[in-house]
Symmetry: C2
Subunit: 334 residues, 2 copies
């Protein structure tokens, strides 16, 4: 059973998950092993037996579970960081706090096509990937042990992807990650002072100001944030106030797919198809954040060598202004 441990000073919870590695030599060769581009990819159609049984699959024509015929497929991670069975087993260890590493860790296989990438897909297909996020979230939030569902994507080896076949990941956690908590608290403080959502204020200012706007449509906008940690960092925000991604209106998924596709294609054009991470920031489950929190997506191209002290300090140096980044992205020919 993985172990969830809390740093007593920072309040930061960490998963100790020892299923994957354990001896020092496992850490000595740093590069993750990539599968051959041909051959046995566990995410390709026909290889369904290589993954745990699917938790979701969209099949335009009726076809059997765990067999080809799907367009988007979700499966438990074969090497999960957390384990779905068991109780939380919260306990103190002297000064420290720990609990069992209970949670869900799933992979959303975005397409049957091994060579496709999210940026190259038709918006209609991206929409289905977004629906898969939503459907898995709606299913998992029924489990009252979970307090946060993290949806993210590591694209490319430099961004942490270990398998080439395009996929996203979902982790359901029994605790709220500290950065999410800090975001929530920042929003709550603004609301207490002004009775307004801070992201709604940001959206108003960005749409007026225009300097950091990459693109927008009737429901969403894509901006480079005012204080970006990374070069060409982009945020996609819904124009309508909403705390929970999974409660989006049906009509919004189409426009979200379109703006996400456009943002990724602009990034690919300007930066020659970089590795990137994409993180869905949405409200913790079962919390009354509806007034003051505003879900959004953060896209972080993996461009600069990360100086590790940034993890230790929350302190970032960015060599390009967001106004310049936005200009390059806006003017990219796609």
């Amino acid at each position: 059973m993985p172990d969830l441990r809390r740093d007593p000073v920072m309040g930061r919870w960490v998963i100790i998950s020892t299923d994957r590695a354990g001896r020092p030599r496992d850490f000595i060769h740093h590069e993750p092993v990539r599968p051959a581009s041909t051959g046995l990819c566990p995410f390709c159609p026909g290889q369904e037996r290589l993954t745990p049984k699917e938790t979701l699959a969209y099949r335009p024509q009726p076809s059997e579970q765990n067999l080809p015929g799907w367009t988007v497929r979700a499966v438990p991670n074969k090497f999960p960081a957390l384990q779905i069975e068991g109780d939380l087993g919260r306990e103190g260890v002297g000064l420290y706090d720990r609990m069992n590493g209970v949670g869900a860790h799933e992979v959303i296989i975005e397409t049957p096509d091994h060579k496709d990438t999210l940026a190259d897909m038709q918006p209609k297909h991206i929409e289905d990937v977004l629906w898969a996020f939503r459907d898995r979230m709606v299913d998992l939030r029924k489990d009252l042990r979970f307090r946060y569902i993290l949806v993210f994507k590591n694209h490319g080896q430099a961004a942490g992807a270990t398998l080439e076949h395009t996929h996203s990941q979902l982790i359901a956690l029994p605790v709220v990650p500290t950065s999410v908590m800090a975001e929530i608290e920042g929003c709550r403080a603004h609301f207490q002072q002004k009775e307004r959502c801070i992201y709604c204020d940001i959206i108003r200012q960005e749409l007026e100001d225009n300097a950091r706007l990459v693109t927008d449509n009737p429901e969403f906008l894509c901006v480079t944030p005012f204080a970006p940690r990374f070069p060409f960092e982009m945020w996609i925000l819904p124009k309508r106030h909403a705390a929970y991604f999974e409660e989006s209106q049906k009509t919004q998924f189409d426009l979200l797919a379109r703006i996400l596709s456009e943002a990724l294609r602009r990034m690919n054009q300007v930066l020659a198809r970089p590795a990137y991470n994409f993180i869905l920031h949405t409200s913790p489950l079962h919390e009354k954040t509806g007034d003051f929190y505003h879900w959004h997506i953060e896209i972080i191209p993996k461009l600069t060598q990360v100086a590790g002290f940034e993890w230790g300090t929350g302190f970032y140096i960015n060599p390009i202004t967001p106004e310049e980044s936005a200009k390059f992205l806006r003017e990219a020919e796609i």
Copy 2:
């Protein structure tokens, strides 16, 4: 002038420093350029004219400034993230806050020997490196614009080092980084509840428990933390309560050099000389943290591929327990 910007939700300050790069193509090739091991290294003796003028140099025999003869030398970073001249120019931009990127960014060249590494040096020489940190901090804290001094080391390309010749860095900031602030607040909360320093409590528990102890001496201990973010993460803490590194007793520097040397050699033995980051966590300047904060050093071997979502969430998955890491480190033959 670099720009310091505050994220309005997270409260996180970011430096926008555009001196080094600006066009998208600067980001496309990710690997930093390494100098040839021979040839013009700006940190080697005889090349002093390639760096800005020194702010400190230890010269066992009297010799001229900015010429060979030094054993440890500090110079301003040639491509500083922050600029030493100017006022803070704090201002609001609509919803947002910014100020001028005023600060110091220095390099501490740890040895004249291009091939040496911190782990291979005699403890006596490491002691001089620690004195150099202290002396630069004592000098820079006189500047009342600065609120935090960050000392860190990126060793090896994978950890963010762009020059091979072993060196540390120092950044004096007009703001306190958010993670430092979170650490301070965590300590303050514990003190308010118990009237005790939380790190003193941690030290007591670790010395009793022994499971995560790597090594200790009369003044310092080296442990793997209870909730480590990274495999083989190590902390070095002074046994005596102290908030400010730069106010350490003279006799402590010898024992700190010895335990740091031992920790690095144990890490090198177990992990085949990995890239690593080392971060000095010390109190913000001019703040009354004396009762509840406790300075320490965090050492983070760069072993795993960083899944970028960790930056976005403060959420870490660690594949080895700190008890196992500590055992390997403790039992290493050095």
